[in-house]
Symmetry: C2
C-alpha cells in the first residue's frame, strides 16, 4: 500500500487525511500551522518536520494549499521556506496537487519534478468541505494516463467522480472553467432577483416559477433561496472564488482568451471585499447588484 | 364552455389553438398572414376578419404576438391597424396576453381595458414550440387571483406549470427575469468552453467533468453539447432572445435596476445579428466569445 505524504491541513485537507487513514493508508503530514496537525495525528497520522521530511517518507505526496505561490514554496522551496518537498521526493514517486492554482505554474512544477524522475498529477476538486468529509468530491485530473491509473485507488478514497481531462495542467484548466461557468450563472441569478425585487414582484415566487426551466442552474436552486432569505453564511467564500476568478482571467490572458463576463463579475465582487465580506458565501454577490439598484432582495412574508 | 378568440398564429400559436380545439373549446382566430389561419381552420377553428371580430365572438381572447407594439396594435389599435380587439371585447370578458412584452406596456393596456370592464392577465410562456405542441409550457401569470382562477382550465390545456406570480405585469417581469438568468448562465458556458479550447483541453471533456456540479445549468447541459458539435440550429433564436434582453434592460431602466451582465451579453449578441445569424439558436453566442479569442470550440475526435 502506498505511503502517503500530505501537506495542507485546512478545511479540505483534514477530512481528506482522515478518509485516507480510514481506508488503511499510512499518512505522514505537515502543515504551516498547528491545529490541523494535532487533529490529524489524533486520527492516526504521523507528523513530519518539513515538506522535505514528508516527501522523504512518501510514495505519493498530496498537496492542497491555497494558491500558486504556496504550492511552489512547498514543492520547490525558495526564500525562507522550510526544506522543500523536491529535496525529499524519491525517483518514481508522485506528486498529486489538489490545490486550485495556475495551469502554467502547474506545468512548470511538473517540468522541474520530471527532471528528477518524479511524476505529477494536478487534481483540483469541487464539492466543498461537505464533499471532502463524505469522500464524494469531484476530482478533475491532469497528467499521464499511467500515473492517473496508479493513483486511482488513492483518488477514489477522496472523490466520487474522478475525470481524467488531459495532460498535466488540464485539471487546473477544467477547474477554472468550472469557476467561470459559476460566475456567469451566479450573476444571472443576482440580476434576475434584483429586477424582480425592484419591479415589486416577490423574488422567491420568481425563483419558484423559473428554476425548473431553461433558466435553471445549480447556482439558482442552491444559492437563490439563500439570497432571498438573506443567508450569507459561506458554502464557498467570496475571497476564494475571487482567487479562482483571478486565476481564470490570468489563464485566459496567457492563452489570449478574453473572458468579458468573468472579468465583470470579478470587478463586482471587489465591492464585497472592500466591505469586509470576503469570508461570506458567494451568494452575497446579490448585495452588490442590489446596491446598484438601491433595493434589497427579500422574500415576501 | 368559454368561447375563445386567438390572435397570433405563429410557431407557438398554432399548436396552442389545436390543443384548445382538441380540449373542446370553440376557437375563432385572426392572424396577419394567411398560412397560420388555414392550418387552424383545417383543425376546426373559425376565421374572423379582424381582431375586433375575433374579440366580439369571445369570452376569453388570447394574444401571442412578437413585441409590445404588436400587442398594442392588436388590442388598442391605432395607425393603419385593422379594427382592434378593444372595439369588440364585451364587458366581463378577459384578455390573456401570452406574448413576451414590456411589463409597463402590459399595465397600460390593462388600465385601458379595465375602464371598459374587461379584465387582463399577462401570461408569457417558456418551453418553446415543443412545449406548445405537447401542451407542457411553463406559464407565468400576472393578474387578479379571481381572473386567474376563472382562466385556469384554459391555461391548463396549454401549460403544465402555471404559476401565479403577482398582479398584472408580474408575469412579464418574471419572464424577463428568466431571460436575464439565461443570459448569465449561457455566457458562462461560452467563456468556459473557449478557455478550455484555447488551453488545449477538450471542451467536451471539460463539460462532462463539470456539468453535474455547482457549475451545472440547463444551458450547459442542453446547449453546451450543441456548441462543441457546431450545431447552431435554433431551439430559441438569437433575435428573439435579443428582443427579450432589450425588454429586460428597458424594464430595468424603468425601475432603476442596472443589469451589467445582461447588458454585456446583449452587446455581444450584436456580433451575430450583424453577421446575419439572428435566426440561429442562442448557443451561437459561443462564436462571439471564440472570435474574441481567435479560436474555434470543437469536440476532439
Amino acid at each position: 500500500m502506498d505511503r502517503i505524504g500530505f501537506v495542507g491541513l485546512g478545511i479540505m485537507g483534514r477530512p481528506m487525511v482522515k478518509n485516507l487513514l480510514a481506508a488503511g493508508f499510512p499518512v505522514t503530514v505537515w502543515n504551516r500551522s498547528r491545529p490541523g496537525i494535532d487533529e490529524c495525528v489524533a486520527a492516526g497520522a504521523q507528523e513530519a518536520e518539513s515538506p522535505q521530511a514528508v516527501a522523504a517518507d512518501a510514495d505519493v505526496l498530496i498537496t492542497i494549499v491555497t494558491d500558486s505561490p504556496d504550492v511552489e514554496q512547498v514543492v520547490l522551496g525558495g526564500g525562507e521556506s522550510p526544506p522543500a518537498a523536491i529535496e525529499g521526493l524519491a525517483q518514481g514517486s508522485v506528486l498529486i496537487d489538489m490545490s486550485t492554482i495556475s495551469p502554467s505554474v502547474t506545468r512548470h512544477i511538473s517540468d522541474v519534478l520530471a527532471a528528477k524522475g518524479v511524476a505529477m498529477l494536478d487534481a483540483p476538486v469541487s464539492g466543498g468541505d461537505a464533499g471532502a468529509i463524505a469522500g464524494t468530491l469531484s476530482i478533475m485530473v491532469g497528467g499521464d494516463a499511467d500515473i492517473v491509473a496508479r493513483c486511482q485507488p488513492i483518488l477514489e478514497v477522496m472523490g466520487k467522480t474522478i475525470t481524467h481531462v488531459g495532460p498535466v495542467g488540464a485539471g487546473q484548466t477544467v477547474k477554472l472553467c468550472n469557476q467561470v461557468a459559476i460566475a456567469g450563472a451566479l450573476t444571472g441569478v443576482c440580476e434576475a432577483l434584483t429586477l424582480a425585487q425592484n419591479s415589486d414582484v416577490d423574488p422567491a415566487k420568481m425563483l419558484d416559477a423559473i428554476s425548473a426551466g431553461a433558466a435553471g442552474s445549480w447556482q439558482m436552486s442552491n444559492l437563490g433561496p439563500r439570497m432571498v432569505d438573506r443567508d450569507f453564511a459561506p458554502g464557498f467564500m467570496v475571497k476564494l472564488l475571487q482567487k479562482d476568478l483571478r486565476l481564470a482571467l490570468g489563464a485566459g490572458g496567457e492563452v489570449g482568451q478574453p473572458l468579458p463576463v468573468t472579468a465583470l463579475v470579478n470587478q463586482l465582487f471587489h465591492h464585497l471585499e472592500a466591505g469586509g465580506a470576503g469570508d461570506e458565501g458567494t451568494q452575497a454577490l446579490v448585495r452588490v447588484v442590489e446596491t446598484l439598484g438601491m433595493t434589497e432582495v427579500r422574500r415576501r412574508a
